[in-house]
Symmetry: C2
Subunit: 338 residues, 2 copies
DNA sequence: CTTGGCACTCAGTGCGTTCGAGTGCCAGCA
DNA sequence: TGCTGGCACTCGAACGCACTGAGTGCCAAG
């Protein structure tokens, strides 16, 4: 087991390394942090920490840098979440309050997060899966052509064309519209399928085909839209990554364009609370030299989507986590208001 | 005036430099290109070209590299557009043919362009300004609440909520819907304002307020949507930029996130034909070390939006221009079909 | 368990040398 | 007038080398 002091040494190493980007040695450590022991003692502790795999030397006769495992311990046990200051919180709120629609909220969020953390920000559009239906509208564009419009409680609107197998009268359409809305308005997307399941039976035989077609289009829309959208920002911050550029940065840029990968990554993160994936903990290879801090956000108590940042493993975890949490909280508020 | 041979020397310099990324000297030039003259002669020519500002030396005793002005001359006078080979054309067509909707077309286009040119691709969504109205739909969500849906000939759908100043009957709504569509269906967005100008007069006094509100919302939608959207891809190709990374790449990444700037840039490019902006010709400072090759594309003969690539000034202009032109052409075809 | 002392390592730095690609200029030749 | 070969010169890149200093591991003493 690691003694209290050794953990303290690890914390000091992480903090210094994050600040200076340079391997940190025993002497410098005792000078900057008053650990109350001599460099020699620290050296012994370092040797122990290295044996356990928490820190490593880039080369002999250099200082130590934390390993992924070291950062993991730091995040889990040694560091808290650094809360935003009051002025920062006010600034966040002001900035987000100016948003005029959902796109704007998401756009502002991503810019804000990138700026606060000085890293790459990733924001997922509010997912429809957890959303509820505000309204379904049907309108006839031609005798056998219907347009389906779906409005969600997050303010998103989706529309689809439906080619009907048979002409569909205005009266039947009104009927379907009314029945559909009375059943699904205010309900969860996930509940819709079973709620509308027996709907065709209420109609005349000749209309049933059309009703089924409309319904299946509706269900498709719900499923398809679960392929969520992402917005990325602050990629210019990648230039602060390290010295050995091209090699480090290229796979990251590639990963950031693979929205599918990112969505999967966010999806795998825990549903509640903040998740930090460090270095090789990220399943995707291109992100092996990065850490991903993510958290769910939502309009009610429940999360409807995730947001987070991607940065070098050598990042200021407490600060980043604080910013991510604060932004998620305020975005949630904004969404709840609208 | 520059003699024929001097132009030939400039062409050779550009070609070699683009290939090797290294300053090119007189001896190497005569060896790779059979110019039929000795290095000494080439040196004289180079001195002349340098006096005119077409090439420059990074430092004394190094070879020459083209200046922005040199590239400009190269593009204008010395190089054509390199056409795609038949297999390449087929691959492009196949790849784009697989698209299922507008988003997919744009997404595929940007990926394709990035891959073909190995540079950063920029694709603007088809603009509404030049589009025509396919259909306008109005539907009543509540007595004094109307939803406006606009469908364009490029397959885009926009919707807006309208809060009416007074309750609006179903009959009046149907009337408005019919009149509106008969006037604007198939017409250009730009023509819509004057086409609907006198529409309120056809209605009862009590409905005129609502009609006006609906119309102004429609007009707003047309204008707002002129703030076009952009999609960017292939940013990972920025890593091939040069050796002095952080400094070069950072402003470019920043510029790429400023969609407003990019849209302005594309907008300024000539409306017809291909435009090449080299280095400092780009008004935006962050892009001073890049060249932008762009061209309009559209479903009919007319361009509805632009697409292009952003790359280092040291790029293969003929090849890039060929790829950009080919992609634009095929995207146009796809849009025309759908 | 801590500490001071000590020998050892090795990346980074500064300096001088060499190497060679490339230049400018000039005199001679067509 | 324009091309060419020759020649001296420049200067960045590469190399070798010694030095420095931060950092280490180990050990014996407190």
């Amino acid at each position: 087991m690691l003694s209290e002091r050794r953990l303290e040494v690890l914390r000091a190493i992480v903090q210094d390394y994050v600040g200076t980007e340079e391997p940190v040695g025993s002497k410098a450590l005792t000078e900057r942090h008053n650990l109350g022991v001599s460099p020699a003692t620290v050296r012994n502790d370092m040797a122990a920490l290295e044996d356990e795999g928490f820190i490593a030397q880039p080369h002999t006769s250099a200082g130590r840098i934390p390993t992924d495992k070291g950062y993991r311990l730091f995040v889990d046990k040694l560091a808290g979440v650094k809360p935003m200051t009051a002025p920062e919180r006010r600034a966040i709120q002001n900035f987000l309050d100016g948003a005029v629609d959902l796109d704007d909220v998401v756009g502002r969020t991503v810019r804000l997060l990138a700026q606060l953390t000085r890293q790459v920000a990733v924001v997922q559009y509010p997912s429809l899966t957890r959303s509820t239906v505000r309204h379904v509208e049907l309108l006839s564009l031609a005798p056998a052509r219907v347009m389906l419009v779906l409005i969600t409680d997050t303010g998103r609107v989706e529309q689809r064309m439906v080619d009907c197998p048979a002409p569909f009268g205005e009266a039947s359409l009104a009927d379907l519209r009314a029945r559909l809305n009375s059943r699904v308005t205010g309900r969860r997307f996930t509940d819709v399928p079973q709620l509308v399941q027996d709907l065709p039976e209420a109609f005349e035989t000749e209309d049933r085909g059309t009703v089924s077609t409309v319904l299946s289009t509706l269900l498709e829309t719900l499923v398809e839209e679960t392929e969520e959208r992402l917005v990325i920002g602050g990629t210019a911050n990648l230039t602060r990554f390290g010295h050995d550029f091209p090699l480090t940065i290229r796979p990251v840029l590639e990963a950031l364009e693979e929205h599918v990968v990112l969505l999967k990554l966010l999806g795998e993160a825990g549903d509640s609370g903040m998740t930090v994936r460090i270095g090789h903990e990220n399943a995707y290879e291109g992100l092996n030299s990065t850490s991903v801090v993510s958290v769910g956000y939502g309009s009610g108590g429940e999360a409807v989507a995730k947001l987070g940042v991607v940065g070098p493993t050598r990042m200021d975890y407490p600060g980043t986590m604080g910013a991510v949490r604060a932004v998620a909280r305020y975005v949630g508020q904004i969404l709840a208001e609208s």
